[in-house]
């Protein structure tokens, strides 16, 4: 049962519970009109303690397309929450008004803290560099949609594997599925952390510094950006950022049915010419993000 539950980190839902959400998302994609009033008279609070237009729009669009309504803020400085009220008091108060809460906050663990006192389900929409579970659900639904299943895939992840939260969550989520293999492609300096590798069967992954070498093997290529603020110096950033750029030439070496994913926004790690390739699905991910959030809201509210 997902009714009344919170979603704070991606792995707290079991595989069969995720499947419930994805199955519902499939139905919504097929017949959105069947769900356009399911959240009538339901209210979602959207508490964004730091701006993230992309994520906020996705949740707002999801709730509105279900016939529900949204209240909230996207800049804490203009709202009363800035006036020294504790998060505990805020969430208890807001819980009285709404049916479900979405929270984004720059500090790690905030959604967990709020979920302890909330009287309604809380969805973590990002807590600093810590967790962003709906991004992971989006990635899983995208893979499931294009590859028809979440089992037996070779997933190549490329870029900043050391600091990339999205990638850590994806690896943790995908390793639970049977037959998953990983290829970690990164410069030496940005390798996937030990604690992630410790979760994996040693035969289920390998590491390389060459995108060229690995691309032919991949069923899914997950690209990520290299963030400037992660580096001690501008020189280091410039030296590493262009390390792995996906180009049409590299795409020639990839499987016919491989898909290229990216959490967006991209900087320059995928050449624009790749956008026209039918294997490039990154611009469609946002749509799956909205559908998976629609399914999640319905499930947590216990409406289906």
């Amino acid at each position: 049962m997902l009714k009344g539950r919170h979603l704070i980190e991606p792995s707290e839902f079991r595989i069969d519970e995720l499947e419930e959400i994805f199955g519902l998302a499939d139905s919504i994609i097929q017949k959105p009109e069947n769900y356009s009033e399911i959240c009538k008279n339901k209210l979602l609070a959207s508490l964004f303690y730091e701006p993230s237009t992309r994520t906020k729009f996705s949740f707002d669009a999801a709730m509105l397309r279900l016939g529900g309504q949204v209240i909230g803020f996207s800049d804490p400085n203009t709202s009363s929450v800035a006036k020294g009220e504790t998060l505990k008091d805020t969430i208890i108060t807001i819980s009285n008004y709404v049916d479900i809460v979405v929270v984004r906050h720059p500090q790690e663990g905030t959604a967990k803290l709020m979920s302890k006192y909330a009287l309604v389900p809380v969805i973590n929409a990002g807590d600093g560099g810590h967790q962003h579970p709906t991004q992971t659900l989006t990635d899983l639904l995208t893979i499931r949609h294009y590859k028809k299943s979440l089992k037996n895939h070779c997933i190549a992840v490329c870029g900043d594997l050391k600091f990339g939260r999205t990638i850590h969550s994806l690896v943790k989520a995908m390793h639970r599925y049977e037959g998953t293999k990983f290829i970690f492609i990164s410069p030496e300096e940005l390798r996937i952390p030990r604690y992630i590798k410790d979760l994996l069967d040693p035969d289920s992954y390998r590491e390389t510094t060459s995108l060229d070498e690995a691309i032919g093997e991949a069923d899914i290529l997950y690209m990520s950006r290299v963030q400037r603020e992660r580096f001690v110096s501008e020189y280091e950033y410039l030296r590493l950022k262009d390390y792995f750029i996906l180009t049409p030439e590299k795409m020639l070496m990839a499987k016919e049915d491989m898909i290229v994913m990216h959490p967006l926004p991209r900087v320059n790690e995928i050449a624009e010419e790749v956008d026209d390739d039918k294997r490039a699905v990154y611009f469609h991910q946002a749509k799956f993000g909205m559908y998976v959030r629609m399914a999640l809201i319905i499930k947590l509210l216990g409406l289906e």
């Binding site: 500090q107 967990k112 807590d127």
Partner: protein, 140 residues
Amino acid sequence: MINVSRLKKGIVIDHIEAGHGYKIFSQLGLDELEDVVVLMRNVPSRKMGKKDLIKIETDINLDLTVLGLIDPNVTVNFVEDGVLLRKEKLQLPEVVEGILECKNPRCISKYQKIDDIKFYLIDRKTKEYRCEYCDTTTSF
């Protein structure tokens, strides 16, 4: 010299690694106790070379969780009428509440007053605990 060997009712914390006695003394809040408390430091020991030892003459039930954290090798002896009632070896607690502090400067517990942060044991060998909010590992 004070005779500390006869305890009517109380606790003897033995086999404390030399130097840890004072830490335990303050963590248990023994300086606030009205009862007789003796901290002995650098006591010669056959097994350990040197050890610290604490004797507490009290009826109060002390929360000894913290002991397992500071020094899981100590022995706790419960004494009544000068007789040893039972001996307890300590273990690292699975969950610790309110003793550890999260080391992550970006953790919400650094910004909001939270009294009851739980830390979960993740590695017995390294004595590492995980913050329930941000998952950062920390040790005592």
